[in-house]
């Protein structure tokens, strides 16, 4: 699989960004973020939270009312052309030129990104590399309109690769795709990250975003929504470790009796009998070991003990839960 060259790695830095809609409503409020080279940052939030607006402002398509966007040390005050030199942005909904053939679509963007210095041979080489990498060759002479949603997304990723930008912004790249197409697309995104690009990605398909991203932030009403412990951002390790408060599951005989037996030991832990076992919502490893010893002593058989991590979906749902 051929690789495309990447410009020197740089980070995307957003400082106290505020963006308002033309009607005056604030879409993004005093928001800061840094995405480092090689990092995939997952942006989570409900519809209308300001995710797409944040991405457009980061790409220079929308001029912010306050704050700043930096590509490395270069500040962008709302220039699409400057953004186009440093950032490759896949918008949602995805728009493609339906009347063009796939080959022409790639040719156009190769011309646009190489403008005005690319030679014909350079363009052909770049397009060839992208076509091989994304497996687009069978579709080159098909009109874009006739491609499935998955292949249209791939073609659009071809545009991202042709941009050869060190910063990549993906707005719902897997929207509307079936499981196989999503998997393939996410593999391509992983490949982009391995080339030291800084990637900011939004998705409503949280299990896959959790697999893909290194760090996360939850956005609600245009601002960061603080997660456990008041921290703004969290990593996949934070999720695995349940933000320091491990959740444990004991699969055992007689769960109801086991719960009764443990209540005096775990008065402060949320302890529930669930299905074939017990669920500890907040317990450390030592406490779990004690519980196992206690239950074994009480004649209850322990079949399995495991730590349960927090899922991104759970965290997002908890953080964004409407308050009364």
């Amino acid at each position: 699989m051929s690789q495309t060259s990447v410009q020197a790695p740089i980070s995307l830095r957003i400082e106290n960004l505020t963006v308002s809609y033309p009607n005056g409503k604030t879409a993004v409020r005093d928001l800061s973020l840094e995405v480092r080279p090689g990092e995939v940052f997952g942006l989570v939030g409900p519809n209308g939270a300001g995710k797409s607006t944040l991405l457009k402002a980061a790409a220079g398509l929308i001029a912010p009312q306050g704050g700043a966007v930096f590509y490395g040390s270069v500040q962008n005050k709302g220039s699409g052309a400057l953004g186009g030199r440093h950032v490759a942005f896949m918008p949602d909904p995805l728009g493609v030129y339906n009347d063009l053939k796939s080959r022409e679509y790639l040719e156009f963007f190769a011309r646009a990104f190489g403008h005005p210095h690319a030679t014909t041979a350079d363009r052909a080489q770049r397009i060839g590399g992208v076509v091989e990498r994304l497996g687009l060759r069978p579709w080159l002479n098909h009109e874009v309109e006739s491609l499935s949603a998955g292949w249209q997304r791939r073609l659009s990723l071809g545009r991202i690769l042709l941009a050869d930008a060190p910063i990549v912004l993906l707005d719902e790249p897997a929207a509307g795709l079936d499981v196989t197409a999503r998997r393939e697309l996410l593999d391509v995104v992983r490949g982009l990250a391995s080339e030291t690009r800084a990637i900011l990605i939004t998705s409503h398909i949280l299990p896959e975003l959790q697999e893909l991203a290194d760090r996360f932030g939850v956005i609600g009403n245009g601002s960061w929504a603080p997660v456990a412990g008041g921290q703004t951002f969290f990593t996949s390790d934070d999720l695995k470790q349940g933000f320091g408060t491990a959740r444990g599951r004991l699969v055992c005989s007689e769960p109801a009796r086991a719960r009764e037996a443990l209540l005096p030991l775990h008065a402060d832990a949320a302890l529930t009998a669930e299905g074939d076992g017990l669920l500890f919502n907040a317990v450390d490893r030592e406490a779990m070991a004690k519980a196992i010893a206690h239950l074994t002593g009480a004649g209850i058989k322990i079949y399995e003990a495991r730590n349960e991590s927090r899922s991104l979906s759970e965290v997002a749902a908890q953080v964004l839960k409407p308050t009364a």
Binding site: K56, L61, R85, P91, P93, F109, A112, H115, R159
Partner: protein, 269 residues
Amino acid sequence: MSKSINPVLWLELRLRLRERKLWVISLVFLLILLAVTSAAVGIKQNGASMPSEAIASALVWGDFVTLLGLILLIGGLGGAGRISQEREQRTLAGLLNTPLTSAEIVGGKLLGAWAFVGWFLLLSLPFVGAMLYWGAPWWRVGLGFAVCSLAGLTVSALAIGFSGIFRNSLTSYLATGFFLFFWLIVLPAIGGVSHLASLIHPEDSSSSLAQYLFFYPNPFVALYGVLKDSGEPIPVGTGVFVAVVWVGLSVIGFGLGVAGLRKGLFAQS
């Protein structure tokens, strides 16, 4: 290292060449010019007393009026919707996320729309040959070409400007149609009334000014001015004035296109 053409122009040419209606209009246009030319030459062959200059004059008038009318329509239709269609098919964000500046994008679209005009000027070349063959002065033919070309640029640029400032294509088509109606019908009518007023009150300079502003910038009046082969020629100053007005309108259209290019980006999500 090669200097490539504006990528947006490249895209526009690709997209427009796929439009079947362009080829149908081209065919109809050729048939009209063929009919005009055949009629003029046929009359000459049937009436021996008809001088060659009369044939040339008939060709010049018939062909250029047809050409100008078509170019105004094609220029307007070709330009309106150029930017709003990008919004409607949601390709604008991707187009703006390139190193191309807004001026390069709108410039490419304007050149693409003007290429329609150029295409019809090209199609008319065989008939221009016929005009010259029958003795039409080359400078008159050249000026006719210049009027058609510049009028086409003006209407294309304004149509693109409308497609920039109006969010959907239908509105930009309507605005272009309204402009053409105003430019071709309403303003000359005001200018004509002003002309009558200036005949009745020759001392009133405002009537002459209104005539200047409203009557001469009409493309058919300008075409008449450069094609007429009798009476007083239109003063050079008036010609320059008309050219300045048209170029000014083109610049305004281009500016509106650039200013409105990012309109609707918030709504695309």
